[in-house]
Symmetry: C2
Subunit: 252 residues, 2 copies
Amino acid sequence: MTRARQAGEAPAPEPYATEAICGRILERHRDTVSVRKAHVATANLARIIEAVLRLSSRQGFHETSLRDLAKASGLSMGGLYSYFDNKNTLLLMILTEVAQTAEAVLGNPPPGVAERPAAHLRWLIETHLRLTEAMQPWFVFAYMEAKGFPAPARRIATEGELATERMFAGVLERGAAEGVFAIEDVDLTASLIKPLLQDWYVKRAKYRKRGTTIERYVAGVTDFVESAILARPAQSPPGSADRDGRNPAAVP
Amino acid sequence: MTRARQAGEAPAPEPYATEAICGRILERHRDTVSVRKAHVATANLARIIEAVLRLSSRQGFHETSLRDLAKASGLSMGGLYSYFDNKNTLLLMILTEVAQTAEAVLGNPPPGVAERPAAHLRWLIETHLRLTEAMQPWFVFAYMEAKGFPAPARRIATEGELATERMFAGVLERGAAEGVFAIEDVDLTASLIKPLLQDWYVKRAKYRKRGTTIERYVAGVTDFVESAILARPAQSPPGSADRDGRNPAAVP
DNA sequence: GAAGAAAACGAGCGAGCGCTCGATTTTTAT
DNA sequence: ATAAAAATCGAGCGCTCGCTCGTTTTCTTC
C-alpha cells in the first residue's frame, strides 16, 4: 500500500499525519484530481479532507455543504472540483483509504507473532486500538457516514469491518485448535471483540472526559478478552459456574 | 411511564408494537398534535413513525424528505404538520420515547433480583437485549441519528446511554464489594459491556444473515462477560496468565 | 340530511443545495 | 519581459428542501 519514496524526498516522519495520508490518496486518484503539481495537490487535498472530517464530525457529511467546505478549507467552490468530480467521490476517497490502511496494517503482524495465537491476539487488539487512535477522525467518519449511501460506499465500509473481524476469527480458531483458548463459538466471540475495539474511537469523547488513557484501555480490553477466553487448565469450563440467577425475560 | 388503560378499552396485548408506543408518545405531546380524536391520532402517528423509521434506516433521517415521508405514510404534506410542528420535533419524539422506555424497563428489575449482583447483571444483559430486539428500529434510529443535531437531541441520546451504563457500573460495584466479581476498574468494565449489547441492534443485519438467534447471543454475551469478571476462588487473578506475547506497538 | 367542526389536502414560497463555466490570477518557460 | 499553461475563482443554473395556508373532504351532531 505505501510506496517507496523517491530519493531526495524527505521521509515522512509521521505516517498517519493528514498530509501523509493524502499523499497516498492522491496516488490512487490521479485521474480525478486535475491539479498536476504533487505538492500543491497534496497540501490542498489535506486541507479539504481535514475540513470535511472536522465539519462532518459535528453535523454529518450530508449536512456539510460544499460552500461550508470551501470556506473552511480556504478554497473556492470551483477550486474544490479540481480535487474531486462530485461530493460522493470525496466520500469514497476517505472510505477506501480507511479500509486499505486497516487491512494493510492489521494484516501484517511482525515476524514471530502470527505463529503464537495468544501473542497474535494481543497484537491485533493493541494495533487496532493504536491505529484507530492515530486516525481517529477517519475511522469515526467511516463508521458514521457509511450508512445511507449508495451501495458502493456502504459495501466498502462493511467489507472492511468484516475483513478485520475475519482476522480475529482466524486467530481465535487457531488458538482454540491449539488448546490455548477455550471458546465455544469462534465467530460469535470474534463478533464480540470487534465492538470493544470500535468503542474506543466511536465514543472517544466519553473516554477523554473521563481521563482514560489508551494504555489503560488497551490493558482493560486485553485483560477482559483474555479472562473470557484463555483456557484455564485446572477448572471447569466457563459458563458452568453460578447458574442461579436465571430470570424470565421481562420483555415479551 | 405506562398508564393504566380506561375500563372497557382493550388491554394492549403487545406493549412494544408501534401503535402502543405511539399512544404513549401522544400522551407526552398532546399540545403539539392538533388532531384531537385519540384513536385517529394514534393510528396516523404510528404510520408516520413507522415510515420515518423505515426510510431513515435506509438513507438517514436528514436525507428523508417530508415529501417522501408523506408518500410513505399515506398522508399529505400539510397533514404531517398536524402531528408535529417541525421535522426536529419528530426526531425528538422518537429519541425521548426510546430514552424513557429504556430507563423505565431497565430500572425496574423484578423483586429479588436487585439484591443479588450476579442475578442482577444477568437480568440487565438479557432484558437490555430483549428490549432492544423488540424495539430494534427505534434503538437503531436513536443510535444513528443522534449525531449532528442541535444540542437537545444529542443530549437526550448520550444521557440515555450514560444512564444505562451507570446501572451496570452500580451492579458491578456491588458485586465487587461482595466478592462475587473480580474487577479492577468498575467504570471501564461497565463501558466495555455496553457496546456488547449495542452491537446486537446496531449490526442486526449481520447477525440475521448468520442465523444467530437472540437466545444464542444472550448466552454468548452472558458467558463472555461472566467468564471475564466472575471471581474464581481457587485461581490466580485474571491477567497474570500468559504474559508472554508483549509486542511493541506497530503504530507510533 | 343539513350545518358546523375537524381533519386532510397540495400547490406555492423563499432558501439553500450540488455543480458548471467563462473570467481571472498565478506559475512556468522562454 | 512576455506568452502559454496551470490553477483558482465565484456568480449563476436548475432543483429540492422544510414549511405555510387557503381550499376541499370527511366526520359529527341534531
